[in-house]
Symmetry: C2
Subunit: 458 residues, 2 copies
Amino acid sequence: MTDHKKVALLYAQDHQKQTLDKMKELIAIPSISTDPERKDDIQKAAEWLKKELSDLGMTKVEIFPTPRHPIVYAENLNAGKEAPTVLIYGHYDVQPEDPIDEWKSDPFTPTEVGEFLYARGSTDMKGQIIATFSAVEAILQTGELPVNIKFLIEGEEEIGGSYLEVFIKENKDLLACDFFLNPDTGMLGPDLPSITYALRGISYFELRIMGPKQDLHSGTYGGVIHNPAQVMTDLLSGLHDDQGRVTMKGFYDKVLPLEQEERDELSRLPLGDDHYIDQAGVSKLWGEEGYTSVERTGARPTLEINGLYSGFIDEGQKTVLPAYAMAKVSTRLVPDQDPDEIYELFKTYLAENAPDTVTWQLDKLAADHPSMSDRKSPWITAYIKAAETVWGKRPLFVRIGGSVPVVVHIQQILGVDAVNIGFGIPGGNLHGPNENVHLPTLYKGIEALVHFFFNLKQ
Amino acid sequence: MTDHKKVALLYAQDHQKQTLDKMKELIAIPSISTDPERKDDIQKAAEWLKKELSDLGMTKVEIFPTPRHPIVYAENLNAGKEAPTVLIYGHYDVQPEDPIDEWKSDPFTPTEVGEFLYARGSTDMKGQIIATFSAVEAILQTGELPVNIKFLIEGEEEIGGSYLEVFIKENKDLLACDFFLNPDTGMLGPDLPSITYALRGISYFELRIMGPKQDLHSGTYGGVIHNPAQVMTDLLSGLHDDQGRVTMKGFYDKVLPLEQEERDELSRLPLGDDHYIDQAGVSKLWGEEGYTSVERTGARPTLEINGLYSGFIDEGQKTVLPAYAMAKVSTRLVPDQDPDEIYELFKTYLAENAPDTVTWQLDKLAADHPSMSDRKSPWITAYIKAAETVWGKRPLFVRIGGSVPVVVHIQQILGVDAVNIGFGIPGGNLHGPNENVHLPTLYKGIEALVHFFFNLKQ
């Protein structure tokens, strides 16, 4: 271990109290991005970050306004052209505090209980932002950075339609880097360091089936009009076969097959069937034959009905034959599926299967590509080594079923790979009441980051 | 023709102006049964009927209060025990005037335009009530009634859950009769006298499919949880085969087959495919193979989805895997199907087809038996003869796809057959804006009723 690394680690350990105080300061600003009344708090959080980044030794710090909430950028490129450059992502906005009645302490008054700090944003992701700040500070206060560092911190992650994608496209040179560090994922347990190397993409649709020109009396017309709700159930039901597979022609054509080595890695995850049964409160699981639950949710594409509407849905009865039916349908995609191609496949399915007694319309509401990082990249290798040093064990490799658009956008626009990590653990209640962060794990995370940055140089 | 009948018919013809004035008086009372603020108008309408029935020669007239809106009863039994007794049904309540903006004249200010009178209730059914009054008055003002007459006029037809059924059960002796005259149906055209001899029954259900204990993230759980919306579409889709038949085992077991003679009668109706295509605004019809449109809507049982709900149905996207799905499903039934048996068949279908990954619940929201009148009964024979005299042609025999609970209740509780007629014609806009009645047809209807009452005696 270099002397500088040793000293930096000691600095980080000695300054846990300061780290905690910084977290509390940032968390106390209720920067809820969806609430127009919090616009001043959003601005305040951005300014706080700017000052903090300057104080800890970033050489250039700037706030970029966007049509909505500002983006904070900072850099320290003193490591020089020979050293790798890492772009660290963060978002300083948080979810609303709803349901407020279920909080045991004020959501914006950070409250320590045992090893946990309770507050909105403690895990998602102000705690993680401060962890990266503390790691960088520990190194800079004890010497020079071994790598070039850029920070990109947005205020619109918890809101639909972030301007970040546009910003990245318009600032490719500013953001140029060797790889992308996204500390917005998590760990599967306090002693289970984890690396998320794949995220599913999404294609989200609204399907409408149109029948009669207006709602009809089901007594007078029942028997001669093809009920759009019935057509909808026929079409949606036909999208799965009895092995749980999606029936759209060509749906699986571009799916990268799981190799045995990857299946072995995934089988290490502590996410057995019991986990899903407990979390969902169901008696039995369901899914595509031939795959484990972890594979089904992370490594296989799926199709879900997210919403369904037709006719009369209030209390009681109304004998209506509905004029139309609507469904929200989404597919989760894995490499190398393409959301736009899935849209075409869905249209083909409808063209081939919808009866000529109705008309239909398929609108695309969202399209994000799936993403995958090279598990053998030098960046991931550097994090594996860091995690092994801090936690004494090899990290778990995780595929996440959800979609994180920023990772895909940066991969696609800047052409670099991502390292997705994080120090939040299960039970952190992201987006829910009593959100919390496990402080000992977060402090270990800071040490892991110090190791990581030094490992990158080698 | 008897002298009395001749004189009565002349009286009716001479008093068309008085009939029209009476209609206008009754229509001007806005007796909307669903509007609590019209409670006084409901009472006023009942009192108006009581006075009118006394004036025209009923020997006993009474208003029976119910927990909601009163029932008006009247009788004149002077024809004696040898003569048949007819129970004439009516309802003095009307639909709300919505949408008020689309009315060309005030809904409760009866307005004559050409041969039509426009007003809420003009066809449904204050006009028809006055027609029966005018026929009875014409006979009573010129002699004695050839039959015993009872009137039963309720104020809750346009509202859910009428108390009439209870009233009939509790007053079987008072209402005892040889048959039941229901002037609340219509004619298929101004020169097409019609007799409705069959009404479909209904069984209305709410089906719930329950999956996870709460809405889940479709990215995290999509692939291992059986989506209740998907199960719902599978179950509903399975309820029809590709010949348009309902697949519940035993669904058709009790259906009376259509005989050729009845099919011939039904084929006379001016309700070809074009009629349904125009009315519904569809490009193509659909239905059970082997039957005409009139047969499908009137003489065959059907199953419709009346409503469908699951998950997120607002604008935009939400990646939810819903906790449950709900459907409103109803079957229209024909003799001799039993709505309670259909409930059992539906439960059996669900028990056999629902997967064990979800739970389900089937609630029965309504159950009314189908009804059919003997087309060769003396009562219908008497009306055929009356219609032939007035319109010069044999009436059409109509089966209606909707359900009219009062007809079934009276048939079942009092054990008598029904004669369902009426003098409203297509375009009368029942329940819609600009409701109207064709006065020349209504006046002919009064003459038909005079003939009918005399014919009954023979």
